[in-house]
Amino acid sequence: MSDVLSVQGLSVTVRDKTLVQDVDLTVGPGERVGLIGESGSGKSLTALSVIGLLPEDVHAAGSVRLAGVSHELIGADERRMSRVRGLQLAMVFQEPMTALNPTMRVGDQVAEAMLIHRTVPGRRSARLAATELLDRVGLAGAMKTYPHQLSGGQRQRIVVALALANDPALLICDEPTTALDVTVQAMILDLIMQGVAARESALLFITHDLAVVATICQRVLVMYGGRVVEAGPVGEVFTRPRHRYTQGLLAASDLESADARLPTIPGNVPAAGQFPSGCVFRTRCAHATELCAEVPPWEGTPAHGFACHHPAPAMEPTHA
């Protein structure tokens, strides 16, 4: 089957700065893909390029195609994009406290998602469908409440219900649980998992939390400095990382041991546009040589590979 989402050669620029470069990424039907990387690596910008909601003066180039949509998403006009957003492609953002309109009842906000795309015949059925959606996220009876009457976790459940209202082919979640406390996180993740499973929607899940990726995703992409540096099945990448950055990232967020003194990746993430030429990681990499001044080629298949001149040996264990 062909991919639900296919991103090719995506780059994102603001004025003269390049924030994301040469990103290729595919998500198959019903597939759950994780997107990880330190803060500032370009994960959100990648997601926003796909849904076409980049901030003003930030521009995307390249190709983004969505199954069932006959046109290119990059550069599509508002009229066409608005027909895709919320229907075939939905997104859940990080901050639930401010994601809902404070002056509108949450039931109406959920119902609106269906009314916009006319996936229900009328207001009454939209309201019924919204009631059912809220019921399924455990908020039966929240139809008439306003956002301020709900907690952060409850609001995020509303946002999830709203995003899934039209059974999108692809759901993008940008750190949907980062702003929530741990007990609530599990519940939101559960809802997202159940939601996409019931609809056979594909999932692109952005997070810092490698444990979350390990539990919910089948495949993972590692971003650094606006580039995808490694990609592959979660099991492979997390047990046998090849890119030195992935290796560092894994070591820094040790999934198994409870040791609090984790090794960190030396140095800091450079500011946007300040990444070195060639391999973007070379200024922080212990294995870097002169060779790294050249952009490392992608090794392997698009679905499983890495871009590193001095990769970890294929069988090297995680914690060297």
Binding site: L53, D57, R85, Y146
Partner: protein, 315 residues
């Protein structure tokens, strides 16, 4: 909700009481005896004494205040020391005129500011938005009376489209009423509109940056419908505040504009009162203006609650 209503009403009543003391007190501490002021410097002492007695000015200030306030509460504004005519009916008459003027000006201001401010915000990086900004900046700098004089020069004197001044009650001749209303309402409204535009612009800019607007876009609403459905009410809250505050400015503007356009409103009544040294009349008119401002701000407060459900939580 009920609690807020009670609380706001209490605040209104207290501010009304304080305002009445201030207005009365201010007139009382003005140098000179109101009776002598009314009669002029050449009046005989007997005449002055007689007037003082006739209007109860020989009583203590506290008694006079209570008497005045008690009268106001029953709709009795007292009798002018100068013309010996009842003040209440005059104020009622003039109030209507000013009300027409101020309300029309407010509508002009809103009709101008809401779309202009929104366009300025939505296009704040483009030429059209910047041009509108510059234009409104210019409007802010022009005082209402100057706008009035300019409008008279262009539309009344040069083009002869509209009367330069005068007032006809709407019941008498609606056509004439409208014609005469246009220029004064514009001179008040355009200037207020320019000021208001800037507030609308910043309110809409704030809303455009809100996450819920991005959510609305992610649902599939195009930029303008998203702003309309999800931004309007949120942006209205700060704008309504400014509208309430602007009312005071509009009333002051009306005093001057009524002079320029020879309109028999409260403003002209006030100025007449001042030039006739009719202190009670002045005191009453000022009180009416203050009450109008306070009541409008009370209503604005209630409007907030209607606009923003977050304010409806009972504490």
């Amino acid at each position: 909700m009920i609690l807020r209503l009670v609380e706001r009403t209490a605040v209104l009543l207290v501010s009304l009481a304080v305002a009445s003391v201030l207005v009365f007190g201010f007139m009382a501490v003005l140098p000179g005896d109101p009776a002598r002021v009314a009669l002029g410097v050449n009046a005989s002492d007997e005449a002055v004494a007689q007037l003082r007695q006739q209007f109860g000015l020989d009583r203590s200030l506290a008694t006079q205040y209570v008497d005045w306030l008690g009268g106001l509460l029953q709709g009795d504004f007292g009798t002018s020391y100068v013309s010996k005519v009842a003040i209440g009916p005059q104020i009622a008459d003039r109030f209507q005129v000013t009300l027409w003027l101020v309300v029309t000006a407010m509508i002009v201001a809103l009709v101008l500011a809401a779309p202009a401010g929104t366009v300025m915000a939505a296009r704040h990086r483009r030429i059209s938005g910047l041009a509108l900004s510059a234009l409104s900046q210019l409007g802010v700098a022009v005082p209402a009376f100057l706008a009035g004089i300019l409008l008279i020069m262009v539309f009344a004197v040069k083009l002869g489209w509209l009367p330069a001044n005068g007032w006809t009650p709407p019941a008498e001749d609606p056509g004439m009423f409208l014609k005469q209303l246009v220029l004064p309402a514009l001179s008040l409204g355009l200037v207020q509109g320019a000021v208001l535009t800037r507030y609308v612009r910043s309110a809409v800019l704030d809303v455009l940056r809100e996450d819920y607007l991005r959510t609305a876009r992610a649902k599939g609403l195009r930029p303008f419908p998203a702003l309309w459905r999800h931004g309007l009410r949120n942006a209205a809250v700060p704008v309504v505040t400014v509208l309430g505050l602007q009312l005071a400015t509009l009333l002051i503007g009306a005093v001057v504009v009524e002079r320029v356009f020879v309109i028999p409103g409260l403003g002209s009544l006030l100025l007449d009162g001042v030039s006739n040294r009719d202190l009670l009349l002045v005191q009453d008119v000022v009180m009416v203006l203050v009450v109008a401002v306070l009541v409008v701000n009370f209503l604005v407060d209630l409007l907030y609650v209607a606009l923003d459900p977050r304010l409806r939580v009972s504490r």
